[in-house]
Amino acid sequence: MRLNKTSKKNYLTYAIVIVAYVIMQIVAGGGHLSSSLKGMLVPICAYVVMAVSLNLTVGILGELSLGHAGFMSVGAFMGTTAAIALQNAIPSAPLRLTVALIVGAVFAAIVGFLVGIPVLRLNGDYLAIVTLAFGEIIKSVFNNLYLGIDANGIHMSLLEDKTNLLEGGKLIIAGPMGIGGIKKIANFTAGFVLIMICLVVIFHLVNSRQGRAIMAVRDNRIAAESVGINVTHYKMMAFVTSAAMAGAAGALFALNYSTIVANKFDFNTSILVLVFVVFGGLGNMLGSVIAAAALTILPEALRSFASYRMLIYAIVLILVMLATNNPTLKGFFASLRGRFDKNSEKEASAS
């Protein structure tokens, strides 16, 4: 079977994710994995999903979003609420986790759709600032939202706790205090499965008729429109898919900690995910996966530098951006790759 270049790359991405998962499982199974790394596995998975989903918006759709953490927030809060509310109804933790991820994704998709209506009418930096604005609004809303559950069902109020729960009721989201006492049901395998699902969805989308339409819109909106592509429709499709994945990532992330607050998902988190995407390369899903993992581990690995840790992190960030965009270095690596490709071709023809 002859594979074209894109599908080769897609299979490589799957392969690397699977190999990483298997290696981690073997190392962990042997008890050689440090608690530090073990504790980071689930957040890494969540950040990887965040990165590939944002890459869909920024790299494939070509629109800069500065509010991606907002969708993560929606997924985290709604997914966790579902998990807590269904604690007794669904005793099986993996099943409850699945339901929570789906709930998170669905709510994030709905919010993504609502946000998308105004956002996708704008362009460039104006679009970016509106996504930032929505991210901040979502944060504000969750900081003031009270949601409880009792025998009469779900009660919700804004600004003040007016839920008036009956005896035995439970206040789940408590405004600025967020959600506390979460049962930690997220695990590495669930994270791995979520990454794989997201990659499959994205690769299929990109290689489909719809995906080509989305990229046509990115490359030249007017030309795309002139050949009859419904620009808004395709933009919305990519945007909502991306939001849904971020929602699932948020639910996975939240269910890995005993507590979650709205301020976690602020502008800085949106920027952090954007850093993963740019670091890994626009439209390059494998790059996003690796960058998200690397940059999540980096500040932890720098702990031995004590108070200079974040300073060094900043310097590494700047240096890598400079190095990867340096024409001389780029040329050098391109020539290396060229030689490598030639060699492999020779080998192929020899065999």
């Binding site: 104006y126 700047i318 024409p327």
Partner: protein, 300 residues
């Protein structure tokens, strides 16, 4: 009367946003990059002024000058080391580098000056009967206006006029506008694009120093993260007014401040941020390029 007081508070806050937004918009207009480190240059300016005035006991004017000089040099150094090598790279790569610079400045400040808050000295106050007076009153004390507000607004207007004249009348200013329109064509016309962009950064950072001094004079708690939130708000203000437009930044900043204060006063202190951003979204839907932004028709 309380409405007038709120309006004055809003203008006072807005004028601070405006002066930060002027620096943002200037750099964006010419270098076409979102300089997320701008807010942190502001913080550095405030610290320099604080050290000069409170620690070394220098007069306020010297403190402000020192802040301007240090920030201008800092801005040029940052530009040379971090942004210049990325001239050919995508705008997103530059954006991420700017974020790196922002982290760097914040953490360097944390190490240099510790996280403990410093109270910025009252530079704009006079002493009456042994008491410091920071503003004047109208209508039997029902209306209070602080000197900082007046000075900030005057500074804003002066900077706005000078920048407008500078970009429209001087050779360097014209070169800047040429670069912002088309770098390649500007180069062909014999304009040194690199130098022009460096000058833009120098001016933008010098403005940041003044903004830092005024910000901390109005709201005197100074910590290493002082610049980041006002930086984001000012960025929003710049977009609100139409990014790249100098009068737009002024109007955007003022409006943002006034809306923020009025939303707090008459709607809800809890949701004021959400309301501010909601107004921003509505404005951008009606005027997709901001209040005073140029609508660029796309070439087909």
């Amino acid at each position: 009367m309380s409405f007038l007081n709120f309006l004055i508070s809003g203008i006072s806050l807005g004028s601070i946003y405006a002066i930060i937004a002027l620096g943002y918009t200037m750099v964006y207009g010419i270098a076409k990059m979102l300089n997320f480190a701008h807010g942190d240059v502001i913080m550095v300016g405030a610290y320099v002024c604080f050290l000069a005035v409170s620690k070394s006991g220098l007069p306020p004017v010297v403190g402000i000058l020192a802040a301007v000089v240090v920030c201008t040099v800092l801005g040029m150094v940052i530009e040379k080391l971090a942004y210049k090598p990325l001239r050919q790279a995508t705008s997103l790569a530059v954006l991420i580098t700017a974020i790196g610079v922002s982290y760097f400045l914040q953490n360097a400040a944390l190490l240099l000056w510790t996280p403990n808050p410093k109270i910025f000295p009252a530079l704009f106050a006079r002493t009456v009967d042994g008491k410091k007076v920071t503003g004047f009153q109208l209508f039997d004390g029902q209306l209070r206006i602080s000197y900082v507000t007046v000075i900030t607004i005057i500074a804003c207007i002066i900077i706005m006029v000078v920048l407008t004249l500078f970009t429209s009348r001087t050779r360097t200013g014209k070169a800047m506008r040429a670069c912002s329109e088309d770098k390649g064509a500007a180069q062909l016309m014999g304009i040194n694009v690199d130098t022009t962009i460096s000058i833009t950064f120098a001016i933008g950072s010098g403005l940041a120093a003044i903004a830092g001094v005024l910000l901390c004079s109005a709201y005197p708690t100074l910590v290493p993260t002082t610049g980041s939130m006002p930086g984001i708000k000012a960025f929003t203000a710049a977009v609100f007014g139409g990014i790249g437009s100098i009068p737009g930044a002024f109007i955007g900043g003022l409006l943002l401040g006034v809306i923020e204060i009025l939303a707090k006063a008459y709607i809800s202190t809890q949701m004021s941020d959400a309301i501010v951003f909601l107004v921003l979204i509505i404005v951008l839907l009606v005027k997709p390029a901001g209040l005073l932004g140029k609508k660029i028709s796309e070439k087909v």
